[in-house]
């Protein structure tokens, strides 16, 4: 078995899954993830729907995405053990070492900050790249297109300042 599928097979497989989820044959709703993460956080921190307006507001959608994310965990676990064979305990990505530093403390610190910004930002925007860019883009939603342009544009600009410059010797 190959260790990785190419982008076009990944794209076709993902769109087939999107058809199933979006249609009445599957779940009759598009796939999203960040509402699920926010919902799981309300469980973890005990922010119940009776006392917190936002929990009540996202309860149905958040529960769906929460269960879906549990499935995604096992899908990822299965794949990393049996297909990509990439399961191993790690602290720093290879590219972070190359373009930032080799400090575990630094990577852990920035991971926490970035995780916070990701979910807080996604909740403020009403979705993440699954809900806004993939599912939103697939419905030609203007909200998804605005999100994609601002989020990815910001990422490119911040990446330029946050990381060291790329070494130019390796690419074609």
């Amino acid at each position: 078995m190959p260790r990785q599928i190419p982008w076009w097979i990944g794209g076709i497989a993902m769109s087939l899954l999107f058809y199933f989820s979006f249609s009445s044959f599957g779940a009759n709703r598009p796939i999203g993830a960040s509402t699920g993460v926010a919902y799981l956080s309300t469980i973890l921190f005990g922010l119940d729907a009776e006392h917190y307006e936002y929990t009540a507001q996202i309860e149905k959608s958040g529960a769906w995405e929460g269960v879906m994310l549990i499935g995604a965990f096992f899908g990822g676990l299965f794949t990393s053990i049996f297909l990509t064979k990439s399961f191993h305990i790690s602290f720093i990505p290879t590219l972070w070492k190359k373009r930032k530093n080799s400090s575990v403390k630094s990577r852990i610190f920035w991971s926490f900050i970035a995780g916070f910004l990701l979910v807080f930002g996604a909740r403020l925007a009403g979705g993440c790249n699954a809900g806004h860019i993939l599912s939103g883009g697939s419905q030609l939603a203007v909200s998804g297109i605005i999100f994609a342009i601002v989020a990815l544009g910001t990422g490119v600009v911040v990446g330029r300042f946050f990381y060291k410059a790329k070494e130019c010797k390796d690419d074609r």
Binding site: Q4, I9, F74, G75, P93, G155
Partner: protein, 199 residues
């Protein structure tokens, strides 16, 4: 907390968006496709924004290109309904800005959070904890935050601006994405950590 988790499954079972089994299966394949295409890797997700890898934009454009045509016909023939997110302009733009910063630093999107953790990545686990705190802070302060998230510009879709040509708009949108995905250069950051046994 256990009772809240059980309640989560009950909500899904009673909500009418697929049985718990169907939702778990959708999640399983979602996670498997993310992991098998390596979308969960920092090298891919942050990598494309710092010009080290082009897998993410190519795969995302292919997905959206194919799904946009499929979704259009599913809705047209009555097998699905559009569920478009609103434009709450200030929240959308500011949220996307913060999300973009988080994405290029963590190199994982919320979809890939648990997939990446399942691969043994401790840094992502800490990122998920940060995300949990982010979600809780948003929930706690939501009454204060929601008052300035607007203006609400509704839920427009691109083809709303071309009412009599909606299929044509979808086809042009899809074609542009497919052509762009095909012609984007193949840049791949080969992570030695993934290919240890082969080399």
């Amino acid at each position: 907390m256990i009772d809240k988790i059980v309640a989560m499954f009950h909500i899904v079972a009673n909500e009418g968006h697929g049985s718990v089994f169907v939702v778990l299966i959708i999640g399983f394949f979602f996670g498997a496709i993310i992991a098998y295409s390596r979308l969960d890797k920092f090298e891919k997700m942050a990598g494309f924004m710092i010009f080290e890898d082009t897998l993410v934009p190519r795969m995302a454009m292919t997905t959206v290109a194919l799904s946009s045509v499929g979704f259009y016909f599913l809705v047209h023939f009555g097998y699905a309904t559009f569920a478009v997110k609103p434009i709450l302009l200030t929240g959308l733009v500011l949220g996307a800005f913060l999300f973009g910063i988080g994405l290029v630093i963590l190199g994982k999107c919320p979809s890939a959070f648990f997939v990446s953790v399942s691969e043994g990545r401790v840094d992502t686990f800490v990122g998920v904890l940060g995300g949990m705190v982010g979600g809780a802070v948003f929930t706690y302060f939501y009454p204060n935050i929601k008052v300035w998230m607007g203006p609400d510009l509704g839920t427009p879709q691109l083809f709303d601006y071309f009412i009599n040509h909606s299929l044509l708009v979808v086809l042009i949108f899809s074609t542009i994405l497919l052509i762009t995905a095909y012609f984007l250069p193949t840049i791949e950051f080969r992570d030695p950590a993934d290919f240890k046994e082969k080399e």
